[in-house]
Symmetry: C2
Subunit: 459 residues, 2 copies
């Protein structure tokens, strides 16, 4: 039997590199998608990279370059001759060029801009001036623009002449002389119209557009809402300055979702993949929230110290503290995550606060009573009967179960309210998620627990 | 001053409905996007719905119908004459028709299928036979297919003749007589080619496709990876059966993300928006995990009862239990969420386990030491000096801080390992998130705490 039966494509190609079978290698690479070529290249030894890259035909080379990690891109650029760099830069779409420029050190940026032709350079600088995370920074300025008095036939002709280096030719924008956006027409409409139809009559004139400074997250949400393939970006005077295509919107969506996950777990957002983030960097993104939450737990310590005499009088109560705070935390997290996700999908708004709270209260009562009932049975059967924990009397069990109902109620109320309030004061609701809510709920639970205990057990 | 200065579009339209100004209403509605029309209609009183709907021109009516909630769709269908229903059904894309059919009760489905023309009915039934959540169930069978021996000019002509009711005409698939998929060509390529170029020579022949039974989540991931506008779906014999378009892929992405959020917060996934889910339904999706986690907290109770004598000997320890378990839970959640997100973005795989654990151990040591140091200072300054808590001696503080380091270490290790193991045994890593990990970490933390206390304080 052969020692290894599974051979991956990566291993096959590595063997070809090893054996210097470059012609065969090239034949395989040209059949592949740029994303996959980039993935294979990242696995190869660094010093082979420039050689491998030179095997690719011009267009595939540029596409692969875009898909590589910044470190590999920098390495390649440093190895390029001016001529090679120009060839790659000429093939790039302007929004991809901007993404690359943003990641490179200053001297590499200078070299890139020097090799770009003047028009490209102007477009790059145009996009670079917009703040990060806004529509202007993710748009491209390479779009097809048409005039309202053109015929469909003329428009198709114009697309065939000028469209080759545009990011999309499927959605075209109709502008007047002053670049004012007056309409939108899809290539589909153009193809299905008569050649002599005038654009003015066949275009969509109520165009949904976004402002250059619009937040990229709300731009991405417009794509999910309207199923657009592209969205025009306009300045304050409704002049067309660029377009955003759906593939870039998907990237934003994924980025923003990752950020939400990170914030909800009490981490500072990072824009690098998990395995590429250094240990020190990860520590820096995680330790602040851990510290804040740890220090705010001083409150729970104070509550416990404050009720020390009650605890001494009935030490059986201690054993159920983690169960109560845990259930409170979990109940609160459920409510907060449901509301946070609803907010970010646009299903819930601040004006729904009353409906949300009313719903959570009813859910909380149902959950609380179910949990309390099950818990009572468990306390009697498991703790008292099976584990012979003599401290768990019927009254103690009653204290625990009554507290349970109130805890779930408070936790759900806090859990749904905090994200809504955050939204209201323009904070990100996601930072109000599980860790923060658990800390608040811990304190509330403990106070409830001991007040109920004093009332029922008279301690 | 007027009583109200802000008037929304919805209010204006409601006033027009009230005043029976239907002509004006129609003039406004026709300028709007179907998504927005649907949004406005949902706010209107139910009994007005059929009347409002009849104001819309045929195409906008069908588009609006697709965007409405199932309840409103059912109401409308019940009000339609057979002729009206046929008009709407004729305008629908087959994948939208399938989505509607899936939500309707059996008698409504029968009426829809009776009004659909035979070809449409065949396509609907074709798609309905695939299991939920697989590629086949989200595809459409309305695509443009071309032959390898056609010229670019012929292909464009064919698109103009047959493309009008296809979901997309921008990505076309090249098949042989037996429907075998042999290539892909974009309308862009066709437009930029010479009219006499033969498809065989200009098409992309290494087509990335998915099988009908492929999981919808991995289909959506292919869109984010490759930036496709459409993806062909083939059967076991590589015969083309349908295509999936990017807008449907985005919907899947959003759905799957919501599911991840819900699972990570210990809720059963729901496919209805937050405010449309009933109280009982919400209770049903939340209570199982709360119950499981509450009952598994029996373990923490047992640990606390087991160390009762140690607690009695040094009651100051009690006050810091929630702080330690809380910090452990938060540390574990950070690691697990980072790994879960990495897994779902394809950045982390099971084979990276060693690298992940090694990274988390180093991060945990950094975090643990930072937290312990800060905590020691806090215990001495706040608890001992400011709050005069005499029980907090230097030795007690040492116990708490040493436990802190070990807790963070265990929590991060458990937090990153559990999702990886879940992935390995084909469970959803998301269910291993915060609530589950907190429960495991609670037990570990308490055992550590008392063992360290016994060692240092000799109790």
């Amino acid at each position: 039997m052969a020692e290894r039966t599974v051979v991956t494509l990566g291993e096959t190609l590595a063997a070809l590199v090893e054996g210097k079978k470059y012609a065969t290698l090239r034949d395989i690479l040209v059949t592949m998608n740029a994303v996959d070529v980039a993935g294979i290249f990242e696995e190869m030894p660094e010093e082979k990279l420039p050689l491998l890259f030179r095997l690719l035909p011009k267009e595939l080379a540029a596409e692969t370059f875009v898909e590589m990690e910044p470190e590999a891109q920098e390495l390649l650029i440093r190895g390029f001759s001016d001529h090679e760099l120009k060839e790659v830069v000429d093939e790039l779409y302007v929004d991809d060029a901007v993404d690359i420029v943003e990641e490179m050190p200053a001297n590499v940026v200078k070299r890139i801009l020097r090799q770009a032709d003047p028009e490209m350079r102007k477009m790059i600088n145009e996009i670079l001036k917009y703040p990060d995370d806004c529509a202007g920074s993710i748009m491209t300025t390479e779009y097809v623009s048409l005039r309202p008095n053109m015929t469909a036939g003329e428009a198709i002709q114009r697309i065939r002449c000028t469209g080759v280096d545009k990011e999309t030719i499927y959605t075209c924008y109709v502008t007047e002389n002053n670049r004012k956006l007056v309409g939108m027409v899809s290539l589909r409409t153009l193809l299905f119209s008569e050649d002599e139809d005038v654009l003015e009559n066949i275009m969509e004139s109520n165009v949904i557009s976004v402002n250059t400074l619009e937040d990229q997250e709300s731009v991405a949400q417009m794509f999910t809402k309207y199923d657009f393939a592209a969205l025009p970006v306009v300045d304050q005077e409704n002049r067309l300055v660029g377009i955003i295509t759906v593939d870039d919107a998907i990237d934003v969506l994924q980025e923003e979702t990752t950020e939400d996950f990170e914030k909800m777990a009490g981490m500072a957002p990072s824009d690098k993949p998990y395995l590429r983030t250094g240990v020190f960097e990860t520590w820096k993104s995680r330790v602040p929230w851990l510290l804040i939450l740890m220090l705010s737990a001083t409150l729970t310590s104070m509550v416990l110290t404050g009720y020390e005499t009650s605890l001494a009088a009935c030490s059986a109560l201690i054993a159920f503290i983690p169960m109560l705070t845990g259930t409170g935390g979990n109940s609160g997290t459920q409510a907060s995550v449901a509301v946070i996700r609803g907010l970010s999908l646009g299903e819930v708004e601040f004006s729904d606060t009353f409906r949300v709270v009313w719903k959570e209260i009813r859910v909380a009562v149902l959950c609380g009573v179910t949990l309390a009932a099950c818990n009572f049975v468990k306390l009697m059967v498991v703790d008292r009967f099976l584990l012979h924990n003599e401290g768990v009397t019927v009254l103690v069990a009653a204290v625990i179960c009554v507290t349970m109902v109130f805890t779930v109620l408070c936790a759900k109320a806090v859990g749904c309210l905090l994200p809504l309030l955050a939204e209201r004061i323009h904070l990100d609701p996601a930072v109000m998620a599980s860790p923060f809510i658990s800390t608040v709920v811990d304190v509330v639970t403990l106070v409830l627990y001991f007040q109920v205990a004093r009332a029922i057990l008279h301690i």
